[in-house]
Protein backbone atom coordinates (compact mmCIF):
# COMPACT_ATOMS: atom_id res chain seq x y z
CA UNK A 1 0.00 0.00 0.00
CA UNK A 2 1.27 3.46 -0.85
CA UNK A 3 2.47 5.26 2.27
CA UNK A 4 0.56 8.43 1.50
CA UNK A 5 -1.11 8.52 4.87
CA UNK A 6 1.41 8.09 7.65
CA UNK A 7 0.20 7.08 11.08
CA UNK A 8 -0.12 10.22 13.22
CA UNK A 9 0.65 8.65 16.54
CA UNK A 10 0.46 5.25 18.22
CA UNK A 11 -3.28 5.41 18.65
CA UNK A 12 -4.41 6.05 15.09
CA UNK A 13 -3.42 4.45 11.80
CA UNK A 14 -4.11 5.43 8.19
CA UNK A 15 -7.54 3.77 8.14
CA UNK A 16 -8.55 5.45 11.40
CA UNK A 17 -7.43 8.72 9.90
CA UNK A 18 -9.78 8.25 6.95
CA UNK A 19 -12.62 7.54 9.37
CA UNK A 20 -11.82 10.69 11.35
CA UNK A 21 -11.77 12.76 8.15
CA UNK A 22 -15.09 11.31 7.04
CA UNK A 23 -16.82 11.94 10.39
CA UNK A 24 -15.28 15.09 11.87
CA UNK A 25 -18.06 17.16 10.32
CA UNK A 26 -20.72 14.77 11.58
CA UNK A 27 -22.31 11.34 11.33
CA UNK A 28 -24.55 10.48 8.32
CA UNK A 29 -28.19 10.82 9.26
CA UNK A 30 -29.43 7.70 7.56
CA UNK A 31 -30.84 4.48 8.95
CA UNK A 32 -27.49 2.67 8.94
CA UNK A 33 -24.87 5.43 9.28
CA UNK A 34 -21.93 3.09 9.86
CA UNK A 35 -22.82 1.09 6.75
CA UNK A 36 -23.01 4.34 4.81
CA UNK A 37 -19.51 5.29 6.02
CA UNK A 38 -18.27 1.82 5.15
CA UNK A 39 -19.60 2.17 1.59
CA UNK A 40 -18.03 5.63 1.26
CA UNK A 41 -14.64 4.43 2.47
CA UNK A 42 -14.56 0.98 0.88
CA UNK A 43 -14.51 -0.81 4.23
CA UNK A 44 -16.91 -3.17 5.95
CA UNK A 45 -19.41 -1.86 8.47
CA UNK A 46 -17.96 -4.26 11.05
CA UNK A 47 -14.54 -2.71 10.59
CA UNK A 48 -15.92 0.83 10.90
CA UNK A 49 -17.81 -0.08 14.07
CA UNK A 50 -14.93 -1.94 15.69
CA UNK A 51 -12.52 0.91 14.94
CA UNK A 52 -14.94 3.49 16.34
CA UNK A 53 -15.38 1.32 19.43
CA UNK A 54 -11.62 1.06 19.88
CA UNK A 55 -11.09 4.81 19.44
CA UNK A 56 -13.84 5.46 21.95
CA UNK A 57 -12.32 3.01 24.43
CA UNK A 58 -8.91 4.68 24.01
CA UNK A 59 -10.37 8.15 24.55
CA UNK A 60 -9.56 9.30 21.00
CA UNK A 61 -13.32 9.67 20.59
CA UNK A 62 -14.58 11.44 23.72
CA UNK A 63 -18.11 10.39 22.87
CA UNK A 64 -20.44 10.15 19.91
CA UNK A 65 -23.23 12.63 20.34
CA UNK A 66 -24.56 16.12 19.94
CA UNK A 67 -23.12 19.51 20.84
CA UNK A 68 -25.89 22.02 21.54
CA UNK A 69 -25.64 25.76 21.06
CA UNK A 70 -26.08 26.64 24.72
CA UNK A 71 -27.08 30.25 23.95
CA UNK A 72 -30.07 29.06 21.95
CA UNK A 73 -31.07 26.68 24.72
CA UNK A 74 -31.37 29.61 27.09
CA UNK A 75 -28.01 29.32 28.84
CA UNK A 76 -27.24 32.99 28.31
CA UNK A 77 -24.99 33.31 31.32
CA UNK A 78 -21.65 31.76 30.44
CA UNK A 79 -18.80 32.76 32.67
CA UNK A 80 -15.19 31.70 32.53
CA UNK A 81 -14.32 31.55 36.21
CA UNK A 82 -10.59 31.67 36.91
CA UNK A 83 -8.87 30.90 40.19
CA UNK A 84 -5.44 31.36 41.69
CA UNK A 85 -4.85 28.29 43.85
CA UNK A 86 -1.58 26.65 45.00
CA UNK A 87 -0.12 24.47 42.23
CA UNK A 88 0.30 21.62 44.69
CA UNK A 89 -3.48 21.51 45.27
CA UNK A 90 -4.73 22.20 41.76
CA UNK A 91 -5.42 18.56 40.88
CA UNK A 92 -7.52 17.78 43.95
CA UNK A 93 -9.37 21.08 43.67
CA UNK A 94 -9.87 20.77 39.90
CA UNK A 95 -11.43 17.32 40.24
CA UNK A 96 -13.81 18.63 42.88
CA UNK A 97 -14.87 21.64 40.78
CA UNK A 98 -15.05 19.69 37.52
CA UNK A 99 -17.60 17.33 39.05
CA UNK A 100 -20.13 20.14 39.62
CA UNK A 101 -23.13 20.09 37.31
CA UNK A 102 -22.80 23.83 36.57
CA UNK A 103 -19.24 23.36 35.25
CA UNK A 104 -18.74 22.13 31.68
CA UNK A 105 -14.95 22.34 31.38
CA UNK A 106 -12.28 22.53 34.05
CA UNK A 107 -8.59 22.89 33.31
CA UNK A 108 -5.24 23.60 34.92
CA UNK A 109 -3.49 26.24 32.78
CA UNK A 110 -0.26 28.26 33.17
CA UNK A 111 -0.16 31.65 34.87
CA UNK A 112 1.30 34.70 33.13
CA UNK A 113 2.55 36.87 35.96
CA UNK A 114 2.08 39.68 36.72
CA UNK A 115 -0.95 40.13 34.41
CA UNK A 116 -2.56 36.75 34.83
CA UNK A 117 -2.25 35.01 38.21
CA UNK A 118 -4.93 32.34 37.62
CA UNK A 119 -4.08 28.66 37.14
CA UNK A 120 -7.50 26.94 37.40
CA UNK A 121 -10.23 27.57 34.83
CA UNK A 122 -13.86 26.45 35.19
CA UNK A 123 -16.53 27.30 32.60
CA UNK A 124 -19.76 27.98 34.46
CA UNK A 125 -23.18 28.07 32.80
CA UNK A 126 -26.51 29.45 33.91
CA UNK A 127 -29.69 31.03 32.61
CA UNK A 128 -28.28 34.48 33.34
CA UNK A 129 -25.35 36.17 35.06
CA UNK A 130 -27.05 36.06 38.45
CA UNK A 131 -27.22 32.28 38.22
CA UNK A 132 -23.57 32.15 37.15
CA UNK A 133 -22.52 34.26 40.13
CA UNK A 134 -24.44 31.89 42.41
CA UNK A 135 -22.53 28.93 40.96
CA UNK A 136 -19.25 30.85 41.32
CA UNK A 137 -20.03 31.60 44.97
CA UNK A 138 -20.56 27.89 45.51
CA UNK A 139 -17.17 27.14 43.93
CA UNK A 140 -15.53 29.78 46.13
CA UNK A 141 -17.09 28.07 49.14
CA UNK A 142 -15.79 24.66 48.04
CA UNK A 143 -12.27 25.99 47.42
CA UNK A 144 -12.26 27.88 50.71
CA UNK A 145 -8.90 29.14 51.94
CA UNK A 146 -7.07 27.68 48.92
CA UNK A 147 -8.19 30.64 46.78
CA UNK A 148 -5.81 33.58 46.69
CA UNK A 149 -7.90 35.48 44.13
CA UNK A 150 -10.48 34.79 41.44
CA UNK A 151 -12.41 36.49 38.66
CA UNK A 152 -15.26 35.71 36.24
CA UNK A 153 -14.97 36.70 32.58
CA UNK A 154 -18.17 36.90 30.57
CA UNK A 155 -18.20 36.73 26.82
CA UNK A 156 -19.63 39.90 25.33
CA UNK A 157 -19.51 38.81 21.70
CA UNK A 158 -18.77 35.72 19.62
CA UNK A 159 -16.10 36.85 17.15
CA UNK A 160 -15.73 33.47 15.46
CA UNK A 161 -17.16 30.00 15.98
CA UNK A 162 -16.38 27.23 13.55
CA UNK A 163 -16.18 23.51 13.88
CA UNK A 164 -12.68 22.40 14.72
CA UNK A 165 -11.01 20.76 11.74
CA UNK A 166 -8.85 18.24 13.50
CA UNK A 167 -7.16 16.85 10.43
CA UNK A 168 -6.48 18.56 7.14
CA UNK A 169 -7.85 16.92 4.00
Amino acid sequence: MAAVLEPLCEGIDATDRRIVLATQAGLPRVSRPYHQLAADLGLTADEIMSRLQRMQRDGIIRRIGAVPNHYKLGFKGNGMSVWDVPDADVRVLGQRIGALESVSHCYHRPRHLPHWPYNLFAMVHGRDRVEVFMHVARIAELLGDSVRSHDVLFSTRILKKTGMRLLAE
Binding site: I61, V67, R109, G163
Partner: protein, 161 residues
Amino acid sequence: MTAQAQRREVETVTLDLLDTQIVNRLQDGFPISEQPYADVAAELGTDEATLIARIDALLDAGILTRFGPLYHAELLGGGLTLAAMRVAPEDFERVAAQVNAFPEVAHNYARDHELNMWFVLATETPQRIAQVVQAIEAVTGYRVYNMPKKEEFFVGLKFKV
Protein backbone atom coordinates in the same frame (compact mmCIF):
# COMPACT_ATOMS: atom_id res chain seq x y z
CA MET B 1 -32.93 48.54 20.92
CA THR B 2 -30.04 49.62 18.70
CA ALA B 3 -29.17 47.62 15.61
CA GLN B 4 -25.95 46.55 17.30
CA ALA B 5 -27.75 45.38 20.40
CA GLN B 6 -30.18 43.47 18.22
CA ARG B 7 -27.37 41.67 16.47
CA ARG B 8 -25.94 40.63 19.82
CA GLU B 9 -29.24 39.34 21.11
CA VAL B 10 -29.28 35.61 20.55
CA GLU B 11 -32.73 34.24 20.19
CA THR B 12 -33.75 31.60 22.68
CA VAL B 13 -35.83 28.83 21.20
CA THR B 14 -38.60 26.89 22.84
CA LEU B 15 -38.40 23.18 22.15
CA ASP B 16 -41.25 20.73 22.30
CA LEU B 17 -41.06 17.70 24.56
CA LEU B 18 -39.56 15.35 21.96
CA ASP B 19 -36.90 17.87 20.89
CA THR B 20 -36.00 18.40 24.55
CA GLN B 21 -35.66 14.66 25.08
CA ILE B 22 -33.54 14.36 21.94
CA VAL B 23 -31.19 17.21 22.92
CA ASN B 24 -30.70 15.71 26.40
CA ARG B 25 -30.37 12.12 25.21
CA LEU B 26 -27.89 12.86 22.42
CA GLN B 27 -25.49 14.60 24.82
CA ASP B 28 -25.20 11.29 26.64
CA GLY B 29 -23.72 9.35 23.76
CA PHE B 30 -24.91 7.51 20.69
CA PRO B 31 -24.75 3.76 20.05
CA ILE B 32 -22.35 2.07 17.67
CA SER B 33 -24.78 -0.47 16.21
CA GLU B 34 -26.53 -1.55 13.02
CA GLN B 35 -29.37 0.95 13.33
CA PRO B 36 -28.40 3.39 16.07
CA TYR B 37 -31.14 5.90 15.28
CA ALA B 38 -33.75 3.15 15.62
CA ASP B 39 -32.22 2.15 18.99
CA VAL B 40 -32.39 5.70 20.35
CA ALA B 41 -35.83 6.27 18.84
CA ALA B 42 -37.13 3.20 20.67
CA GLU B 43 -35.76 4.56 23.98
CA LEU B 44 -37.56 7.83 23.39
CA GLY B 45 -40.81 6.24 22.24
CA THR B 46 -40.60 7.49 18.69
CA ASP B 47 -39.52 6.02 15.36
CA GLU B 48 -36.27 6.17 13.40
CA ALA B 49 -37.49 8.44 10.60
CA THR B 50 -38.92 10.97 13.05
CA LEU B 51 -35.69 11.02 15.08
CA ILE B 52 -33.53 11.59 11.99
CA ALA B 53 -35.84 14.36 10.77
CA ARG B 54 -35.78 16.03 14.20
CA ILE B 55 -31.95 15.90 14.38
CA ASP B 56 -31.76 17.41 10.87
CA ALA B 57 -34.11 20.21 11.92
CA LEU B 58 -32.20 20.87 15.19
CA LEU B 59 -28.95 21.13 13.21
CA ASP B 60 -30.55 23.38 10.56
CA ALA B 61 -31.90 25.68 13.28
CA GLY B 62 -28.47 25.85 14.90
CA ILE B 63 -29.79 24.40 18.17
CA LEU B 64 -27.28 21.60 17.74
CA THR B 65 -23.93 22.72 16.35
CA ARG B 66 -22.57 19.22 15.73
CA PHE B 67 -23.70 15.64 15.77
CA GLY B 68 -21.20 12.82 15.49
CA PRO B 69 -17.98 11.56 17.05
CA LEU B 70 -16.25 14.21 19.18
CA TYR B 71 -12.54 13.65 18.84
CA HIS B 72 -9.80 14.33 21.36
CA ALA B 73 -7.54 16.72 19.43
CA GLU B 74 -4.32 15.93 21.28
CA LEU B 75 -4.79 12.16 21.11
CA LEU B 76 -5.20 12.51 17.35
CA GLY B 77 -1.75 14.05 17.37
CA GLY B 78 -2.96 17.63 16.99
CA GLY B 79 -2.24 20.78 18.92
CA LEU B 80 -4.86 22.65 20.93
CA THR B 81 -4.59 25.72 23.08
CA LEU B 82 -6.45 28.65 24.60
CA ALA B 83 -4.87 32.05 24.05
CA ALA B 84 -5.70 35.60 25.00
CA MET B 85 -4.75 39.11 23.94
CA ARG B 86 -4.99 42.53 25.51
CA VAL B 87 -6.14 44.73 22.62
CA ALA B 88 -6.75 48.48 22.70
CA PRO B 89 -10.42 49.31 21.96
CA GLU B 90 -9.54 51.31 18.85
CA ASP B 91 -7.66 48.30 17.41
CA PHE B 92 -10.17 45.66 18.47
CA GLU B 93 -12.06 45.16 15.19
CA ARG B 94 -8.90 45.16 13.10
CA VAL B 95 -7.21 42.61 15.37
CA ALA B 96 -10.35 40.44 15.53
CA ALA B 97 -10.44 40.29 11.73
CA GLN B 98 -6.72 39.45 11.56
CA VAL B 99 -7.00 36.73 14.21
CA ASN B 100 -10.17 35.25 12.68
CA ALA B 101 -8.46 35.02 9.28
CA PHE B 102 -6.25 32.21 10.63
CA PRO B 103 -7.93 28.88 9.81
CA GLU B 104 -6.37 27.48 13.00
CA VAL B 105 -8.57 29.81 15.08
CA ALA B 106 -11.63 27.70 15.88
CA HIS B 107 -13.45 29.99 18.33
CA ASN B 108 -12.86 33.58 19.27
CA TYR B 109 -14.72 35.47 22.01
CA ALA B 110 -14.66 39.05 23.23
CA ARG B 111 -14.59 39.04 27.04
CA ASP B 112 -15.04 41.77 29.63
CA HIS B 113 -11.53 41.83 31.07
CA GLU B 114 -8.21 43.56 30.51
CA LEU B 115 -7.40 40.46 28.47
CA ASN B 116 -10.33 41.09 26.13
CA MET B 117 -9.89 38.63 23.27
CA TRP B 118 -9.86 34.87 23.89
CA PHE B 119 -9.48 32.26 21.17
CA VAL B 120 -8.91 28.55 20.71
CA LEU B 121 -6.21 27.37 18.32
CA ALA B 122 -6.47 23.89 16.82
CA THR B 123 -3.57 22.70 14.67
CA GLU B 124 -2.64 19.43 13.03
CA THR B 125 0.63 19.16 14.98
CA PRO B 126 1.57 20.42 18.45
CA GLN B 127 4.62 22.23 16.98
CA ARG B 128 2.38 24.32 14.75
CA ILE B 129 0.81 26.09 17.78
CA ALA B 130 3.97 28.11 18.47
CA GLN B 131 4.24 29.08 14.80
CA VAL B 132 0.65 30.32 14.67
CA VAL B 133 1.09 32.23 17.95
CA GLN B 134 4.15 33.97 16.50
CA ALA B 135 2.38 34.69 13.23
CA ILE B 136 -0.57 36.25 15.07
CA GLU B 137 1.80 38.42 17.13
CA ALA B 138 3.62 39.50 13.96
CA VAL B 139 0.50 40.43 12.00
CA THR B 140 -1.38 42.13 14.86
CA GLY B 141 1.49 43.73 16.76
CA TYR B 142 0.03 42.44 20.04
CA ARG B 143 1.37 39.90 22.49
CA VAL B 144 -0.42 36.54 22.65
CA TYR B 145 -0.80 34.97 26.10
CA ASN B 146 -0.68 31.26 25.36
CA MET B 147 -2.44 29.12 27.98
CA PRO B 148 -2.29 25.47 26.90
CA LYS B 149 -4.00 23.15 29.34
CA LYS B 150 -1.69 21.36 31.73
CA GLU B 151 -4.40 19.03 32.94
CA GLU B 152 -8.07 18.45 32.19
CA PHE B 153 -10.42 17.61 35.02
CA PHE B 154 -13.74 17.21 33.30
CA VAL B 155 -15.33 17.79 29.94
CA GLY B 156 -19.04 17.40 30.29
CA LEU B 157 -20.75 19.78 27.90
CA LYS B 158 -24.04 18.89 29.46
CA PHE B 159 -26.80 21.35 28.88
CA LYS B 160 -29.95 19.83 30.24
CA VAL B 161 -33.05 21.47 28.84
